[in-house]
């Protein structure tokens, strides 16, 4: 593997080695502090437009497999930055090495740079645009290229990642085979039970702003029939089909650029129970008339404590966002329900009257802890209460 350069928009240059595809990639450089889950991170559509640096140093250890993906058609990140790439995956589910996976999907990867130095740099100076190249090793020309590139907040990334066609989803959460058999057996047993109606499925329509599969899987686990529709789908078309609830998904970029999403959401509020996650939460905030703001370097990781202000319980959450909803700007309309204990940022809200709630973090995990998956059940319960 040859040399590669990472050049930040302010002219900082990191030199390393290429371990992915040959080529060049421009994106906002962010760091993720999860120690596991690089495959989920790579395929998370929220990372569209971003170059992701892993703070954990040993990457590639367990290869990649066909199961742990968060979207179809390969990685969504623009580029991948690691301290050390290990080209000998060892895991019973591994089907391919990470390097091969990146090469097959034309994603550039750079290793052998001081990722902690880069992380500290981003922490102190804020997230910024950057370029990785394995073909042009002249830092000044790269710097010029990255400077010419528009900032991430200036364009709508959702349209690149949303589904072209609506589809329905019925796969549940990952379980290893042995357990799968066990649970299937127990399902057989439950199906014999007389009160099967209690398990009646509700129907949720998911607005795909760049949805992670794990959201869909968790909805299935919580007892939903899941339909996924493109981000631009008019609210009227959704309401016409009369779903039990609507989920506004996660997705990439600045929420303010997703104008159609905001407009549609305005029309949905009050009509059906709504659950917003991450970008969906931000879009909901904007639709309610609030404002959003950008964090210095965002939250990307799997260890942020979030307090449920109602119960006082602390959940360890999966995080991936650069923007936040200023819940104060929605005073009177919504209540703050969750707070991030790391930096006090606002993590969740619910409407004071309507069955509408949303969170900034990722209850679907993938990667990250499953502490908040109960929110999907809460969503489901909301529908039962409504009936």
């Amino acid at each position: 593997m040859g040399k590669a350069l990472l050049v930040l928009a302010d002219g900082t240059v990191f030199e390393g080695m290429s371990f992915g595809s040959e080529g060049e990639a421009i994106g906002e450089v962010v760091f993720n502090t999860s120690m596991t889950g690089y495959q989920e991170i790579l395929t998370d559509p929220s990372y569209k437009g971003q170059i992701v640096t892993m703070t954990y140093t040993q990457i590639g250890n367990y290869g990649v497999n066909a199961e742990d993906i968060e979207s179809s058609d390969g990685p969504k990140v623009e580029g991948f930055v690691v301290r050390e790439y290990l080209d000998f995956p060892s895991n019973w589910r591994s089907q391919m090495s990470l390097g091969q996976y990146l090469r097959e999907n034309n994603i550039v990867g750079i290793e052998d740079i001081d990722t902690r130095a880069l992380t500290r740099y981003l922490r102190n100076n804020g997230a910024q645009m950057g370029i990785i190249s394995t073909v042009d090793l002249n830092p000044e020309s790269l710097l010029e290229k990255v400077k010419k590139h528009p900032a991430i907040s200036t364009f709508d990334l959702v349209k690149d990642v949303t589904t072209k066609e609506k589809y329905s989803w019925n796969e549940g959460c990952w379980k290893i085979r042995a357990e799968e058999q066990k649970s299937r057996r127990s399902e057989e047993k439950t199906s014999e039970l007389p009160n099967f109606r209690a398990f009646e499925l509700k129907w949720v329509v998911v607005y795909d702003f760049g949805v992670k599969f794990n959201i869909l899987r968790n909805l299935v686990e919580a007892g939903f029939n899941v339909s996924v529709v493109p981000a631009q789908t008019p609210a009227e078309a959704v309401l016409e089909r009369n779903p039990d609830g609507i989920l506004l998904s996660n997705g990439p970029g600045d929420p303010e650029t997703v104008t159609y999403g905001i407009e549609n959401t305005k029309k949905l509020i009050g009509k059906r129970p709504i659950f917003g996650i991450c970008l969906g939460h931000q879009i909901l905030g904007l639709a309610l008339g609030g404002r959003t703001y950008k964090l210095k370097f965002g939250h990307h990781g799997g260890n942020h404590p979030v307090k449920d202000l109602k119960t006082g319980r602390v959940e360890i959450t999966s995080q991936n966002h650069n923007y936040c909803v200023d819940i104060n700007s929605l005073k009177g309309q919504v209540k703050l329900t969750h707070r991030n204990l790391f930096d006090g940022s606002e993590e969740g809200m619910e409407h004071v009257e309507l069955p509408v709630f949303s969170v900034q973090h990722h209850p679907e995990a993938g990667p990250g802890p499953n502490d908040s998956t109960h929110l999907f059940k809460r969503f489901r319960k909301m529908m039962e209460e409504k009936c």
Binding site: D10, G11, T12, V13, F14, E15, T33, M35, T36, G37, Q39, E40, T55, Y56, T57, Q58, N61, Y62, E67, D68, R83, E84, L86, F88, P89, S90, N91, W92, R93, D112, I113, D114, R116, A117, T119, R120, Y121, R123, N124, N125, P139, L143, I176, R177, A178, K182, G302, N303, P305, R313, V314, I316, L341, F342, D343, A365, P367, G368, P369, N370
Partner: protein, 1148 residues
Amino acid sequence: MPKRTDIKKILLIGSGPIVIGQACEFDYSGTQACKALREEGYKIVLVNSNPATIMTDPEIADATYIEPLSLEILELIIKKERPDALLPTMGGQTALNLAVELSESGFLDRYGVELIGAKLPAIKKAEDRELFKEAMRKICLDVPKSAAITSMKDGLDIIEHIGFPAILRPAFTLGGTGGGIAYNIEEYRELLEKGLKLSPVHQVLVEESVLGWKEYELEVMRDRKDNVVIICSIENFDAMGVHTGDSITVAPAQTLTDKEYQRMRDAAIAVIREIGVDTGGSNIQFAINPKTGRMIVIEMNPRVSRSSALASKATGFPIAKIAAKLAVGYTLDEIRNDITRETPASFEPTIDYVVTKIPRFTFEKFPEADATLTTQMKSVGEVMSIGRTFKESLQKALRSLEIGSAGLEPVEANIDTIKSKLKTPNAERIWYIAQALRQGMGVDEIYELTWIDPWFLNNIKQIVEMEKGIRAEARESGSAEGKNFLAILRNAKEYGFSDRRIAELIEKTEIEIRNLRKNMGLKPVYKLVDTCAAEFEAYTPYLYSTYEKPYYSAEERKDGSAEGWKDGRTEERKSGSAEGWKDGRTEVRKDGSAEERTSEVPNFKAVVDCEANPTDKKKVIILGSGPNRIGQGIEFDYCCVHAVFALKELEYETIMVNCNPETVSTDYDTADRLYFEPLTIEDVLNIIEKEKPEGVIVQFGGQTPLKLAVPLEREGVKILGTSPDSIDRAEDRKRFKELLHKLNLKQPESGTAMSCEEAVNVADRIGYPVMVRPSYVLGGRAMEIVYNEMSLTDYMRRAVKASPEHPILIDKYLEDAIEVDVDAISDGVDVIIGGVMEHIEEAGIHSGDSACSIPPYSLPSDIVDEIKRQAKALARELHVVGLMNVQFAVKRKEQQSSRAAEQGGVDNYEIYILEVNPRASRTIPYVSKATGIPLAKLAAKVMIGKTLKELGIVKEREIEHVAVKEAIFPFDRFPGVDVILGPEMKSTGEVMGIDKDFGLAYAKAQAASNNKIPTSGKIFISVKDKDKPHTVEIAKSLSEMGFQLIATRGTKQYLEDSGINVDLINKVTEGRPHVVDMIKNREVNFIINTVTGAQAQKDSLSIRRSALQHNIPYTTTISGAKAVLRAIEMLLKRELSIKSIQEYHNNG
């Protein structure tokens, strides 16, 4: 939820002496807990029998009892102190077991003491195999097929269902004592029988073997609001089948996908909830089938453990401290993370480095022991290292071990030997793996033999390939200065290669490599352990070294606004001026490859991101003592920690360097700055060059730092305290002889020999018995006492390769001499005696293995005065600044009548000097606890220039009580090893008994070392001929006190001739029932057994082994028997009583 106000006083139980499976990690956790709880205003009552702990320092608790950890003592303490609560989770299995006993007997309820942290049902559920399994089934978690067996018959039935290989684990034993793997019915019977005996509840878990599965551990914390967090995941390098304490382990887990890791995390949370540990930390072990992913739960510790100490050091999250706060009612989100200050403790640390732990073994001390690693723990210590990659951290850990290894050195072995070394887990397996790879064996084949995950093996393969690369490049470049060589040197350093290992590879010296490296500006950078992978700013300078490449900043940036460089923590960034950049720039510019880059990156400046940020305060580096091993344990860590405390009091910045994760010294809270680094010359010099301290303290950490004194001084480093030359004067045999001669002091006659012949000549000249040892090993290794020429020639053949550089040392062995240790402190002018310790066992038994007493219990006072005079003279002559230890042997002149001797008189005794060590000794903490004088602290202050007068120390502290130290041995861990003591040190730890007089203090010390002296019953006596006359008096007294005496034929005859009534018992060779039958039936209450000669020792081995196995108290020396006698006299006279250290010293 705020802290509880309904409890005011909390009792904390320590873990007792250092034993295999329970080392200083519990001093670390206990000390943290005490500090955390006192911070909250609680009164703390602490009990621990181990004086060498920081937790038993009088300042740590409100009332500290250095008393045996027994039920009756704890009951006395509870009755006296009336605590409101008992925190049982900080003192290992020992404390937990005692808490269970106290609780089950209803005692705690009677006295209104609440168990906090973990309640009885939770402890039972976690510890009882059957209950645990049931609980796991309830929450749908998989466990191995197993059964709890309480009889041989059940065991034989159930094994048909479970199948072989089967794992046996006795319930409620330390570190899995008595456990093992049975591959056939014969082994199974044997292990089951043993296990049933060893288990205090006579229960053995027999279980399906998961040998070869991947092993993981999660450290979990829960608060009373049911918030649960995982602090750390650990993946074992060694697969299932090797005790986790004996495994190389790595954090975080490496080969699990997020889905698999989260599955394990969910399981761990379900486990802690189901078991019902209300608050605090637990450790849960999992096994994963590498082919199918099937996950099973192995076990759970409902308390802080060795792994939680490791996890705390690996992540920077202080588990014990937080657990203590949770136990009194706080919730995780109410507690601050000390490192980031702004974030709470309710989070999961994320790390951006790899931590490797390697256990330290001492099989060389027990040549008869089976060195195979199994489910029973055998290691005595461990090292931890931190690197950015697994390769770096592994190689750093290897050189931290201090076993002479600088990395993965080749081993000379043929392929068959290698294969067998791979197949059978052993302490050297990692080196054989590298060798196998060197000899062309594939990763797959090695995996089949070792079951070590291919990910680890492939990393080792990369290290081995790097070796080849280094060699090839050095050869090709024709010199080691070529540009390509410099590039590969950088890569090698990133892989964690030591200078020494690189030097070995290309046949250069370590210094040459160091200079080469420095000339090219290739220096380590230091990164912070910050719990958050740099997401937040960290305020605790807990650092590790690594090698990282620079990054480059555009020129205009530097000259532009200082804004960008707001973060003052990066030194290179600190200053906006060109001056400030110089360091960073030159560092890299010298590097060939960097130059190349610079030309490619015009107008860009190189920045190497180092987070050390040394201050310009006055500062001192204290070098720690490395891994625990026999001969160098917690005592030295105690001294190092005291040095830190003392220098902090004098407003010095203290910098600790150590690599032992179990210790208090490696708590980021202890020193101002902590470097978690190997204690090699390379790593230490790097730190010194970075920090530029006023000086370095090497006196406190035992041999580890002492070895570095001369090489450091050679590099121009200031060694504080006694000069390395004085140390050399005391250690060099010839110079030492001259020194004693000058002071007109006596030394046992001695000589050196380069050959067997010479040895015989020397021995003839000075007379048998003689003590022989090789000159190049320390700590009594390979030392023996020989009584005749035959044994001597045998020793010369067997033990050592004598050579002119490494002659054999031969000393006259002073038979029946009393050994005395003296610790003293000096500021170079005044000398104050810290304590005079009279040994119980005679000279010839390693001083670390002997019991001893402060003050002396039998020596006449004028002899003691003379000893003190001599010690002071030595200290003055050696210009000791700091601590000094002198070992004396006092021998009664043979011609004198015993009456004259009893009247004392210096003339009736001969005083010999055995050894002088101008440094902190193993006995410093014991002396300090006995006298209340913090010797190590004072010494540290003296070393930076304070005088004893300034410190208010003008005379020795006389005490009115007696403190007896007793050694603790790991014999129970090594089947077949004899318990006989000798010149080779074998003990792992120590206890102290303290009371009004010698008899009671000795009795307490024995009780604390699990060798409880009986006050009635049967005593078995079997002594060597030489001891028979001395035995008469002892036997007579015992008989008068109502003991029934039993002896084998010879001893019985001798005693009956002196008119003592003795029952006869057969020797093992004389038919049954014999003495071993009697021991097994527990018909004996005490054993006095002395032997001489190899054959006699072999014949009587079964007596001592079965005594050990059946926990029958014993002594193997006459002096020990005499002390026991005095103890029994006192025990019959007086009731057991207790007194806190604070009471002892405030009255004194």
